[in-house]
């Protein structure tokens, strides 16, 4: 079957009636390419404005794009849903094998509707969908065990993705993640809780098909060009060598590494948990997503003796990146690699978003030190660096033995509203931030970015570029223009769908070239316009759901702790937000 024709197939799964069907949505894919472009439109069709994120009206949309599986580095799946963490249109991306599995099963998108009456898991194997009883898997303590069992009881190893939730998702922790291929995650914004609310323990996708490309010789030539760039270009070197963990020392050296709940930009033990040190001491294996030669996934070996059994050891393999290191090491004052990995192990077992969990733990530590909460609520003592206690708290976030933990499971914003300490409750529109304290553009981007994510526009890197070039800060208006322009272009990449780590390779002229063998001709100008249109669509959906950039709380802490650009001026940020609001209002008027 032809490439675009097969991409246009949308698989609909109704969990309430336990049925499925396929619809060809060529009109959507020809206008919006795929990925986030198409998923946004599907969300508009599916989710009523007032839908409860944990109710039957919410849907889970997975989407891939025209370049998925076609070229190296096009290896990500886009998930779209309404977030139970902040109540708005949400988007989360993951690597692993799901993108190629969905594509080679013959789909461009999957829409999962409704709620099952009992725990189930769904197996999508090429054209067939099977609903399987999930009662035995439900409540299992480790997502790793769930993965191990599903590997045994489903077919298609090597052509397969196993996306599953942990107990955190089952118990509706609002920042529960979805784990896929053990080491990759739909981490942010609570997709795990949405799956949990649907009683959907796991989704297994097996795709073994192949599709024809119209212009084969050109395709092969373009493939070779991208492949050479992928393996030789300096743009991929950072991810290839030390992985994103290379950021730890780089950020620390410019005083932008969030430490002890963003109270400092410098961690005195950064050298102990740096990418360099980890590579030297405990890096055990490198793994890649299907279709990507980079192998940015860095896996550490944790060897633990059993205290009561001499000469018995438990060896666990855990993947580390910059974000887990920030969230569970520097921002908690943990300088022990072993301590960090033990804590990470529990977060992975339970299926929690590592960033949100780390921020929640950091707030709890400070609230405990300040006396806002005590052992009575926490059920343990807590202090910076005390990973044993953090492990207990993480288990309790999932088990929710008292009112305090029930609130902690709602995110840092909710718990601070109830128990105090909002000034150091790090969240933007209720979303806990990633690990950068680089300057004002990053802070603005966390507020205006459609996912409130560091990768929306990569503004942490704009801050650093400004610093390196010793250029003065742009005006607030220019700052917003730059952020929006970058975020708009990224809509093109995430519609195609390219891994954002490869943004340095997939420049507009390369994207144009990549589409040619598919018989699709889009100029740089047209691509950029499409990116802007998708960006507007997403923002307007959020605004229709009640979001307003002017209402977003800015945690005092980020305005107090100096960045490499000094203490961030709140007026600068507020000016930027006003200008952003103006852009949104204009966009809305233009649309109507």
């Amino acid at each position: 079957m032809d490439w675009f024709k097969s991409l246009s197939n949308v698989l609909y799964i109704d969990l309430t009636r336990k049925t499925y069907w396929v619809e060809s949505r060529e009109e959507l894919f020809s206008k919006w390419l795929g990925g986030i472009g198409v998923a946004t439109q599907l969300y508009k069709e599916e989710v009523p404005r007032n839908a409860d994120p944990l109710g039957p009206e919410n849907v889970i949309i997975f989407a891939v794009g025209p370049l998925t599986g076609l070229y190296p580095l096009a290896s990500k799946t886009i998930a779209v849903f309404k977030s139970p963490l902040n109540g708005y249109f949400a988007e989360s991306h993951a690597g692993g094998r799901s993108a190629l599995a969905i594509r080679f099963a013959g789909y461009g998108a999957i829409v999962i509707r409704g709620v099952s009456d009992r725990p189930i898991y769904v197996v999508i194997e090429d054209d067939k969908v099977r609903f399987r009883d999930g009662a035995t898997l439900w409540g299992m303590r480790s997502t790793e065990t769930v993965g191990r069992i599903l590997r045994e009881v489903t077919s298609g190893p090597g052509y397969r993705a196993i996306m599953r939730i942990g107990r955190a998702g089952e118990r509706l922790v609002r920042y529960a993640s979805v784990v896929t291929e053990t080491y990759r995650h739909f981490g942010r914004l609570g997709l795990g809780a949405v799956m949990g609310s649907k009683k959907l323990k796991a989704i297994v996708v097996v795709g073994r098909k192949g599709f024809k490309v119209p212009d084969i010789p050109t395709y092969r030539a373009v493939y070779d060009e991208i492949y050479q760039l992928a393996v030789k270009s300096p743009a991929m070197k950072k991810y290839h060598d030390l992985g994103t963990a290379a950021n730890i020392l780089a950020l620390n050296s410019i005083k932008a590494l969030p430490t002890r709940n963003f109270s400092s930009g410098v961690f005195e033990l950064a050298g102990e948990v740096s990418g360099e040190k980890l590579a030297e001491t405990i890096l055990a294996r490198r793994v890649a997503c299907a279709g990507c030669p980079t192998a940015c996934v860095h896996i550490a070996a944790l060897r633990e003796p059993y205290p009561e059994e001499p000469y018995f050891y438990k060896v666990k393999f855990l993947s580390y990146d910059h974000e887990p290191l920030y969230a569970l090491a520097t921002n908690l004052g943990i300088g022990s690699r072993e301590g960090f990995l033990k804590l990470l192990d529990v977060v992975e077992e339970e299926g929690l978003d590592v960033i949100s969990t780390g921020v929640v733990l950091a707030w709890a530590t400070e609230a405990y030190i300040n006396g806002l909460i005590s052992e009575k609520e926490l059920l343990t003592k807590l202090g910076w660096g005390d990973y044993e206690s953090y492990i207990k708290v993480v288990r309790n976030i999932v088990l929710q033995p008292n009112d305090f933990y029930k609130t902690l499971a709602l995110g840092v914003e909710e718990v601070a509203k109830k128990y105090g300490g909002l000034d150091y409750a790090l969240a933007f529109n209720k979303v806990e931030p990633a690990g950068y304290h680089t300057g004002p553009l990053y802070i603005i981007s966390l507020i205006v970015g459609s996912r409130h994510s560091h990768l929306d526009s990569g503004a942490y890197s704009i801050d650093q570029e400004l610093l390196a070039s010793k250029k003065p800060l742009p005006t607030p208006q220019e700052a917003v223009e730059r952020i929006v322009e970058e975020e708009s272009w990224r809509q093109v990449l995430t519609s195609l769908v390219i891994c954002l780590f490869a943004r340095g390779i997939y420049k507009p002229e390369i994207v144009e070239k990549c589409l040619k063998p598919l018989g699709k001709s889009l100029s740089t100008e047209e691509l950029k316009k499409l990116g802007r249109d998708i960006w507007v669509e997403k923002q307007l959906i959020k605004y229709s759901e009640g979001f307003n950039v002017l209402n977003v709380r800015i945690p005092k802490r980020v305005l107090e702790t100096p960045t490499p650009h000094g203490v961030v001026d709140e007026n600068y940020v507020r000016e930027a937000l006003k200008y952003f609001d103006l852009i949104i209002n204009l966009s809305r008027k233009l649309k109507t």
Binding site: R103, F104, P157, T182, Y183, K209, P293
Partner: protein
């Protein structure tokens, strides 16, 4: 003659670019025509298993073929004659390492011809072509 060899499976990162390259020989994007198969060795934490024809000198797959569709290749391995193949699947069952893949779209086996196209796309030199007498 040459044959494809797995030099060091421990260096495999599971990117599957070899599998994609194999189908790309036929202008197909996907896995349906791939004669090489990379899967995890029981979860990504355990690394990977690479399954591909190892060019047996006396290949069991050829011995069980009822229509002589599989001809023993100089240097080991087999060449498939599509016009003779009836898609019975005996070859697949006969291969102890599971290196006879299956093309579900046409219902016939896919077996490595040791062309080495995939070697060009292995970013970590896990695969190589080796001279055989």
């Amino acid at each position: 003659m040459r044959r494809l060899v797995v030099v060091d499976v421990n260096k495999c990162v599971g990117c599957q670019l070899c599998m994609l390259a194999c189908s790309r020989r036929f202008g197909i994007v996907g896995y349906s025509k791939s004669a090489i198969w990379v899967r995890s060795a029981g979860g990504f934490e355990r690394g990977f298993t690479i399954v591909v024809c190892r060019a047996c000198k006396d290949p069991p797959c050829a011995r069980v073929c009822p229509t002589n569709a599989l001809r023993v290749r100089d240097g080991g391995g087999v060449i498939l004659d599509m016009s003779k193949c009836i898609g019975c699947g005996l070859c697949r069952d006969a291969c102890d390492i599971g290196a006879v893949m299956w093309d579900y779209e046409v219902g016939k086996p896919v077996i490595c011809v040791h062309c080495g196209f995939c070697v060009n796309y292995c970013p970590h030199n896990v695969l190589a072509l080796e001279e055989v007498s």
